[in-house]
Symmetry: C2
Subunit: 162 residues, 2 copies
DNA sequence: CCTTAATGTATAACATGTTATATAATAACC
DNA sequence: GGTTATTATATAACATGTTATACATTAAGG
C-alpha cells in the first residue's frame, strides 16, 4: 500500500486535492443522476439552474454565473442546445449577445430536478460533510474517507442506518 | 453583475465548486513556480515528491500515491521523462512493472524545491486558509473571496502587512 | 459619417482528467 | 509444461477545463 502524497503534503498540494475531491464528488453525483434516468451531465446542471433562477442569460453572463471561462460556457451551452434543454437567439438590441433561455423540455427538467434529484443530491452531500467542522485539511480528509466508505449514491435518507 | 449560482446552490454544486477552486489554486501555484524560474507543472510535483519520499515506484504505485488513474500517471511520467527529471526501467523481477526513479536533475529539483518553493507555496496556502474554521461551505467562500482579494503569489511572508 | 476601438461570441490548440481496451508478462491450473 | 487467467502498462477516444485569437457587431472620436 502506497502513501497518499497529496494528502500527506497538506497545504502544498491543496489544489490537486480539491480538484480530485471535486472530480470524485461530481462522478458520484453523476451516478445519482444516471440512476434517476435523466439525460444530463452533472456539470451542465449549474447552467440550467442559473437560467431558471435569473431568466434568460447571455453566454458571458452564464460563464460568470457558473464561474468558468467564456469558451467553456459556449461549449456547454452548445451541448444543452443539442439536448434540447435550451434555446439561443440574438438579443434584439445587440446582435453580438446571445440570449440563452430554457425550452419547455428544459423547464420540465428543472421542475422535476427541483422536486426529486436536487434535494437528493444536496441531502447526500450534506450527509457527507454537513456536520463537519474544524480546519479544512481535516474536513477534506473526512470527506475522502467518507466517500471511500459510503459513496454519495448510497447516502439517500438512510443516514440513521449507519 | 450576475449571481454565482455554484456558490448559491451550496451542497448541490459542491463538486463543481471544489473543482473550480482547485483549478484556481493550481493556476496560482503555477504562477509561483513560474516566477521562481522552474520548468515544471504544478500537477507534476506530486509525482516527483512521491518518488522522493518512497524511493522508486511503479506507474501503478504512482497513480495510487497521487490519487489519479493509471493512464493519467502514464502520461505525466512520460512528460517527466521528456523533461529529464525521472528515469524508467523494467523491474528486474517482473518485466511488466516499470520502476520510475529520480534522475540527478530530478533530485536537484526536489532539493531546491524543498528549500525554496514548497515552503513558499505551503505558507501562501496556509495564509489563505490555515486559520479558517467552521462549516466547509463557509470556508470555501472565504477561500474564494481570499483568492479574489489577494492571489496566492502575493501571499509570501507578508501576512502582517494586510 | 467613417475610421478606430471596444465588446461578445466562436473557434483553435492545448492540458489533464476519465473509461475502455490492447498488449505483454507472469501466475495458476489441469 | 501448455493453456488460461490475471496483472501492469500503453494507447485510443472522449470530457471539460484553459489561453490565445478570429470574427462580427456596437460604441467612440475626429
Amino acid at each position: 500500500m502506497v502513501e497518499d502524497v497529496v494528502r500527506t503534503l497538506g497545504f502544498l498540494c491543496m489544489g490537486s486535492r480539491l480538484r480530485r475531491i471535486g472530480e470524485r464528488l461530481q462522478a458520484d453525483t453523476q451516478q445519482v443522476i444516471d440512476e434517476a434516468g435523466l439525460s444530463i451531465q452533472a456539470g451542465q446542471y449549474p447552467f440550467i439552474a442559473a437560467i431558471d433562477r435569473a431568466g434568460p442569460l447571455t453566454i458571458g453572463e452564464l460563464a460568470q454565473a457558473v464561474g468558468i471561462t467564456q469558451p467553456g460556457a459556449t461549449r456547454t451551452i452548445g451541448q444543452l442546445l443539442e439536448l434540447g434543454y435550451v434555446d439561443m437567439q440574438p438579443a434584439p438590441d445587440d446582435q453580438r449577445r446571445r440570449l440563452v433561455s430554457l425550452t419547455d423540455k428544459g423547464q420540465d427538467l428543472v421542475d422535476h430536478s427541483k422536486k426529486v434529484i436536487w434535494p437528493r443530491i444536496a441531502a447526500a452531500v450534506a450527509d457527507l460533510c454537513g456536520d463537519l467542522d474544524g480546519p479544512i485539511l481535516e474536513q477534506l480528509a473526512a470527506i475522502e474517507d467518507g466517500l471511500a466508505a459510503v459513496p454519495l449514491a448510497r447516502r439517500n435518507a438512510a443516514k440513521e442506518e449507519r
